[in-house]
Symmetry: C2
Subunit: 238 residues, 2 copies
DNA sequence: CGCAACTTTGAGTGAATTCAAGTATTGTGG
DNA sequence: CCACAATACTTGAATTCACTCAAAGTTGCG
């Protein structure tokens, strides 16, 4: 089977056979990791980047006195710390949300890509730019949307990001406990609980046990002010 | 005089003479722009990136019903939309905060860099990664810090980013009206006004007319939980 | 000098918080 | 396979932080 990473990249641009072969060749041996394990720690200086093959992980920043902010959620096929290749010291940790399978890609090999595969380099660079665009959208949601709308937005985003690479016909993974969801949305657990109930009451979604099924995407997207442009998904080929 | 962009890059890694010459050669003719002008609009598909030579700009995302979120503030030497080189459609606008001088860099020339100057390419890529790291830190500040601490953090960040490239001995530029500051912090104008007053009352900073002078950086950084690691500033040469 | 933009203050309101239980659900060792 | 622990979820009540509305100062510019 193709690497999900390749599918991720092909959502943005075509890859030629050499590029695919290169990608396949640089991915290390897969390794299983249980849930709630730190893959990367704040302050680390990694020498390889981690590819998420199966499962879900998140980036989190720790503040004083137990404050925790989740700044990203990764889906299968995501490079969880591709930026670790160029940023010397990690500004955040990466933790598994579910049991996962990961593989390492040595930074030396990524560097080789930058030296001989410019088109692939641009595409990998683009992946990190989409990351940044997601951060910006989260900032807007946190700063200027209601808790309900913000939560709805996260569902829309997780749905659209996953439907490009996985089968979502029977629902998609939303592998956050309400406590983690609170850390992602910047809310208290109690309030998250109320907002999730409110969202269920709209009947736009069914949400139980870490799986979400969308019943009325259009209404949800309207509530969330969701516009997928920021994800840089290709509509027309270039 | 050297481009401030070169100084920005040299805060992260050494550049050789060829790289500097290349950068100098790709920068277009400088152009003056008044304050409060949109340089880039949401939905644009630019064919050149904009370098900020003098003045200040911000990125902003517009939501329904007048909601506005500022997601970045640029200082002189910043590439305000370097990511526009690879992201097809801009997910945000860029607006001047003060009268500014800008210069364009054609995307074709940036592409040439990716084809023949891998080290410079990595360094430009790094600039966009620092952008993302700043976004993450803002997310943590919005989600898990008090309005006072968040505001203090923004001051620390603006100070450290500017002191690397400009003379800040008589204070540094903080060119946001309280209304814009509200849009950056995700607060109301009224509340920002109170928080700014509270911050002034600490005597850690003097802040008037868009210029900030820090009186007690250590105390301010403590209040803000500021740790500059995320800015990827070089301490030791590599 | 007068308008426009920005800043400041007061009062009342509301969204989200904390504190405090209590109820499900899941996982595990006996 | 049950009992019990641990984790996750839910609810209620009181509080607080930040908001809106409203209006008055202040500053800067043409």
């Amino acid at each position: 089977m193709d690497l999900l990473l390749i599918r991720q990249l092909e959502l943005r641009d075509r890859l030629d056979a050499d590029e695919k072969a290169f990608l396949q060749s640089i991915v290390g041996t897969p390794r299983a990791v249980p849930a709630n394990i730190d893959i990367v720690r704040e302050g680390d200086r990694p020498t390889a980047s981690t590819l998420l093959l199966e499962g879900y992980t998140c980036r989190q920043t720790t503040l004083r006195e137990g404050g925790r902010q989740i700044t990203s959620i990764h889906v299968p096929g995501d490079f969880v710390d591709l930026h670790g290749f160029l940023i010397r010291t990690m500004d955040h940790g990466v933790t598994t949300l579910t049991p996962s399978r990961i593989a390492l890609v040595d930074h030396g090999l990524l560097r080789r890509a930058t030296e001989s595969l410019p088109h692939l380099t641009r595409l990998l660079w683009l992946l990190t730019l989409v990351d940044a665009a997601i951060h910006r959208r989260w900032l807007a949601a946190m700063g200027r949307q209601s808790a309900l709308s913000h939560t709805a937005h996260l569902l829309c985003e997780m749905y659209v990001r996953q439907r490009g690479i996985l089968d979502v016909s029977s629902g998609f993974g939303m592998p956050l406990t309400q406590a983690k969801l609170a850390d992602a949305l910047g809310l208290s657990v109690v309030h998250v609980n109320r907002v999730v109930r409110e969202l269920r009451e709209t009947r736009y979604v069914e949400w139980q046990g870490g799986v979400v099924r969308i019943l009325d995407f259009e209404a949800l997207a309207e509530l969330a002010e969701f516009d997928p442009t920021y994800l840089s998904l290709r509509r027309e080929p270039r």
